[in-house]
Symmetry: C2
Subunit: 193 residues, 2 copies
């Protein structure tokens, strides 16, 4: 590898640090989607990202061509980003990444997502958050109960990096799957089995 | 109600017959969404329709206004329309209505939907189809296994109305929920409990 002398001068807090992992240049969403595809192909789980809800206002129908949406708006999702089935269990989670080095702010979470995950758990499902600290290229899996409790007591507006580190499982990374997050699910939810 | 003398002349096979049920003017999708909202409010189940996947090509960002999508296209869904959790079980289904009086054609089903429902069942989930015959205003719940088997053996291109009547459960209708489809799920999947 060529070692560019100017490399150190690049400093942008929105970018991840220039370690080998960040060079892959993937977003958390892409990592999770790739991992879900791996788990699907390996027949280990059936988990998908839900499509982004879009309100369609106007559609053109050009002759002999596919319908073309010409006016539409993004809607706020009413639930979480991902759900599916794993080891016979309903599984549901939200994934977020942050550029902060110190905390994950609750501004990134909608109240209805908290309510949704509480419902999922009450009905016997598995609920969690995947939170990536881009600055460290570390991705954690944390039980939804912990996040919901902290969110609802409103004592704080965020979870500190240290708190997340102490109360969640660091997701192991690799080539395939990129994020071995079902290992973390096993550890957190299936240990008694 | 005014009885328009010309009423009988209206004849369009795409419309349902003018019985009291069809006067409600609701589509199957709306009926299911309303029922899901009822079940959610009653804390009986957490089931949602997945948003329609749309490929966004171009977005405008007018000053001080919400992002406006100005070019986008509908994509083929990779799975089914609905999923969620009920009595601790992962539940997944596709809903279709037909204007035919004699059969439900497989043209309405994508191969990947069949594959998806087979996976769901293999992983311990509950999978089914909801099929409405608009001509009779009858809505049936049928085990995904039955539809998948018929689909894959390819002996026929459709399921006859009579076959569906004999091999599924007629969903009871009411005011709230509109479609009592979880009763049919109980009957089909939870009878041994």
């Amino acid at each position: 590898m060529v070692n560019y002398p100017n490399k150190k001068k690049i400093n942008n807090s929105h970018l991840t640090t220039t370690n080998s992992a960040s060079k892959r240049g993937m977003s958390l969403e892409k990592d999770i989607n790739d991992s879900n595809q791996f788990y699907l192909n390996a027949d280990q789980a059936v988990i998908y990202k839900k499509p982004t809800p879009i309100q369609v206002v106007r559609v053109d129908y050009p002759a002999r061509r596919a319908a073309k949406i010409v006016e539409a708006y993004y809607q706020t999702p009413s639930t979480t980003d991902y759900n599916g089935i794993y080891k016979g269990k309903y599984l549901d989670f939200e994934a977020k990444e942050t550029a902060s080095k110190t905390a994950f702010t609750f501004r990134n979470i909608h109240p209805h997502q908290i309510q949704h995950l509480q419902r999922v758990i009450r009905h016997g499902g598995i609920g969690f958050f995947i939170i990536r600290f881009k600055a460290y290229n570390e991705t954690f899996l944390i039980h939804a109960d912990i996040v919901c409790d902290a969110y609802l007591t409103q004592k704080r507006q965020s979870l500190s990096y240290q708190f997340i580190k102490d109360n969640s499982i660091l997701i192991q990374e690799g080539f395939a799957p990129r994020l071995k997050y079902l290992q973390a699910v096993d550890e957190l939810f299936f240990m008694e089995d």
